[in-house]
């Protein structure tokens, strides 16, 4: 999943001063993990198959968020 489409990422543009010493990094990304907007886990939540769940760290598909460094090329 490209970082731009990840539903658990948000961006903001830090203020840029005229005399900032370094070239700008561009938009700053931060994570809004799935737990933030979910509330109580709804009934009949979609599940990963057991082996996949063990590998991913959660049984629940909507709670899964794969992290990749936004700086990695």
């Amino acid at each position: 999943m490209s970082q731009q489409q990840n539903p658990f990422r948000r961006y903001y543009l830090p203020f840029r001063g005229r005399f900032d010493p370094c070239p700008p990094l561009g938009p700053k990304v931060f994570v809004v993990p799935p737990n933030v907007l979910t509330g109580f886990q709804p009934p009949d939540y979609p599940q990963f198959p057991p082996l996949e769940a063990l590998q991913k760290g959660t049984l629940w598909e909507p709670f899964f968020d794969y992290y990749e460094s936004p700086y990695r090329k």
Partner: protein, 189 residues
């Protein structure tokens, strides 16, 4: 009491000889938002929290020790075959003169663990909010370590641990809702 299973919660594999990563991982070993702090915080808060959520604190506190063991394994693998020279290059000379390659509860900057990293306020909402914040901080720490690490196998284990933090925060938020809900309380108007 506890029973112990002689295996890791998730397989730990490290594919590059890079002891500097061990230094970074110490943030999750003996750091303020690390696994030790998490385990001690939750297991200690259990005694002064409404019955409904004691079990949750026990479960998550116990799991944090399983995470601690994974971090320990990662650090050990990255340092066990490192020479004093390699440890110096990795910024671990100070660690070496005090501990050889023994593990110790320091953070990434070498600051030793202290109980003041954690709290038990005795106020259920305050304590659970601290726990939620601790999980988000641990999640962020895993992100920053992944940002610094080029080891795909190590990152695989770190991603698993990061996902667990997301789930823990979710459960602590549900705990807040559980104890705030007054549905089963008798109301007299």
């Amino acid at each position: 009491m506890w029973s112990y299973e002689k295996k890791l919660m998730y397989p730990v594999k490290v594919s590059t000889c890079n002891p500097t990563l061990a230094k970074y991982l110490m943030e999750q070993y003996g750091g303020a938002d690390g696994e030790l702090a998490a385990a001690l915080r939750y297991l200690n808060q259990r005694y002064t929290i409404p019955d409904k959520v004691i079990g949750l604190l026990t479960d998550i506190g116990t799991e944090e020790f399983a995470h601690l063991e994974m971090i320990a394994t990662m650090i050990y693998k990255l340092t066990k075959d490192a020479t004093p020279d390699q440890l110096r290059e990795a910024g671990l000379a100070e660690h070496y003169v005090s501990h050889d390659s023994a593990l110790f509860y320091n953070n990434a900057a070498g600051v030793p663990f202290t109980a003041s990293y954690i709290q038990a306020k005795g106020d259920p909402i305050a304590d659970l909010y601290e726990d939620i914040a601790a999980e988000e901080k641990a999640r962020a720490t895993y992100q920053w370590i992944i940002d610094q690490s080029d080891d795909p196998d190590l990152n695989d284990g770190l991603r698993f641990l990061r996902e667990r933090e997301i789930i823990h925060a979710q459960r602590f938020k549900e705990a807040v809702m559980l104890i705030s809900d007054d549905r089963d309380q008798k109301k007299v108007f």
